[in-house]
């Protein structure tokens, strides 16, 4: 058996013994140069100030020692973690893996790691993610926040951690109070938020009591200078289109199932508007979560209405719709003959089960968010005003309606 060269090298053997990773200092000692010179040679494509022979020696040693730069040290020195955070309700909701994949596809080649935070759609979970992020664990954040608003996120933006929000806006806004939350005096709001977070969680209590704390600072409604971008589809219009589709199919009693917080609110608005304009009564079933279990529960309560039950059910997401479908089938009903069911998201399973739904381009949403974030992270990128990036949705007709 041939012994590889490095095995004969005293330095390598020594390193193997010590079991610690080699540093620039080790290379410098072996090459007889300063540690700073090693850094130069390793990082710059050209080093006119270093003799070719020295450069070659350093490079060779780095290879032999399998030198890898210490990432935490670089992070501290450069004030860049090369990490992107992705804050989502729940990775097991099939909508999100595709989004995460889109994120990673852009992030990885650019040298960024991706950190996942699950919030369960809870205000505590979202706040916890923000707190962690304030410790400088990531350079930027892509987040689907059900509870936190611009001023809460301002804490990050102020600390130069750009945020890209998912599903945070409608094209035409102003109808929901949520959209009027813009802060004016950025400095004051930032200090205020910091104060509240630091001293206690008062603002969360305030929030829970449905008193938007931001009002304190947002007398002037001009949009602030926060570099918070949004990547979204027009949820309200999409839900409206789906509702019109159902009405067009002859449905008159259409119920909607949705979660207490999150994108369901905007989707509900689209449904509500179309139903009202058509002179039809709305029928909302609200649950805590967007799960299949919640959908099944909702369907059961809908079926309990007997002959007055709806002829069509609109799940605010596919999980709800799928759970509803299953419950209807379990009750002996045939879809779509006995009852039509439609959803929202177009998760992979929707296709397999023939669910008519609204397609959101999750991969593109994720990759666009990553691109936007990385752009912000470029020198000078932090200064640009927040962008609203809208992607197209699509009604996907399948067999369930």
């Amino acid at each position: 058996m041939e012994i590889p060269r490095a095995m004969d090298d005293r330095r390598v053997r020594h390193k193997a013994r010590s079991s610690a990773r080699p540093t620039q200092k080790d290379i410098a000692a072996a090459a007889g140069v300063s540690q700073a010179t090693v850094s130069m040679v390793l990082n710059k494509a050209e080093t006119p100030s270093v003799p070719d022979a020295t450069r070659a020696r350093i490079l060779k040693l780095a290879g032999e020692l399998a030198y890898q730069p210490n990432h935490p040290a670089r992070t501290l020195r450069n004030a860049r973690t090369m990490t992107l955070a992705c804050v989502i309700p729940d990775i097991t909701n099939p909508f999100y893996p595709g989004l995460v994949r889109g994120l990673q596809t852009i992030a990885a080649p650019a040298g960024y790691d991706v950190l996942i935070y699950d919030t369960d759609g809870l205000v505590e979970g979202e706040q916890r993610a923000i707190n962690w992020l304030q410790q400088g664990r990531a350079d930027g954040v892509v987040g689907a926040f059900f509870h936190l608003r611009a001023p809460d996120l301002a804490v990050l933006a102020r600390n130069t951690i750009p945020v890209v929000r998912l599903e945070s806006q409608n094209k035409a806004r102003g109808t929901l109070p949520i959209d009027s939350v813009f802060i004016d005096n950025t400095e004051a709001a930032a200090a205020m938020t910091r104060f509240l977070i630091g001293v206690s969680y008062t603002h969360l209590d305030v929030y829970k009591r449905q008193i938007p704390v931001v009002r304190l600072e947002s007398q002037n409604k001009a949009r602030g200078t926060l570099p918070i971008d949004s990547v979204f589809i027009d949820n309200t219009e999409a839900a409206a289109a789906m509702t019109r589709f159902l009405i067009g199919r002859g449905h008159r009693r259409i119920a909607m199932i949705l979660g207490e917080f999150g994108p369901g609110q905007r989707r509900a608005l689209g449904y509500e508007t179309v139903m009202r304009d058509a002179g039809l009564a709305t029928d909302f079933i609200t649950d805590k979560t967007y799960s299949a279990e919640a959908g099944a529960r909702a369907m059961q309560s809908l079926l309990a209405k007997g002959r007055k039950r709806p002829t069509a059910v609109f799940g605010a997401n596919d999980m709800l719709a799928l759970g509803a479908m299953q419950a209807a089938q379990a009750a002996g009903l045939t879809i779509p003959q006995d009852i039509a069911v439609v959803g929202f998201d177009d998760i992979p399973t929707a296709k397999l089960l023939g669910l008519t739904t609204v397609r959101q381009p999750e991969f593109e949403l994720g990759s666009l968010a990553a691109r936007t974030l990385i752009e912000r992270l470029q020198p000078g990128g932090l200064k640009a005003p927040g962008k609203s990036l809208e992607l197209k949705f699509e009604i996907v007709e399948r067999s369930s309606a």
Copy 2:
């Protein structure tokens, strides 16, 4: 409107202006103590050496300034990232989100972030993850490696980054060459691997040529001292059980669809053993990936056999099985009357589509892996020998077979 106390504080306002996060130094300056004292007070529950008044002043200032420790600085100083890496083929494969969730559920309360690396089941992707990890980006790794073997991972273990492997072993081993890969001379192998990685990717070429490079170092088959743990179900026995189930149902022509690399190999072994013992012919269809598309392709080629087509098809994972189901239905066949289909994993969709499958407890797999990793990360934990942790599988009978 009441002005919160902190808004009147000159220091807070100043901080808001500077837009930089406050450090211990800032608190120290404001409190008139040394930065080290601030660190002490902030980190220790009790500081007998610091007067109560001073301590209170520091704590109060930290609150007002909304001080958050700088995570990268802590990481460098403590040599702990408080981050766990999860290396998986593809987060969009529905088996993995549940596993990731299990991981997070244990990791988050313990203070660990979770980093996700997708490898696409490619050797390049796995090697890239290892290289990144060698830069000290995480304290430990949970990984499903399709290609890398113990010696490749030894690079991490040697650098005190513990690894927990998923699906890396059978209960009864020795049948597949894969299981005889244990290294003896740890030091030598580590240096060797480091050498190969540093200088070139020769070892990967060697691997591709099916010459296990580990052989060079593994003359002595005694299991090494590497702290590499495994968390797994008995894939071979599970596949055997499923095959027996199909034979028990009267099937004689049973085909198996699998991916080129990964857990399919072990599952194939179980299928093969049972088929051979029953005097039946095996029928393998191998594709590059474990996707629904691959399953559909495989089913099409199976159906092209006409009257000699199999009566049952065993997908090495649920995605393959679901794709196969869809292709069979698209071809006008009814399941299970015309052809039975079974899978492996029990992803959420399997339930919705009535797929008979092998249930793997993915959440438990993930949480057990996290617990094992965190245990290793405790003082002294690195020394314990690698454990093999087996969880129970379960045959879930549904309507597809």
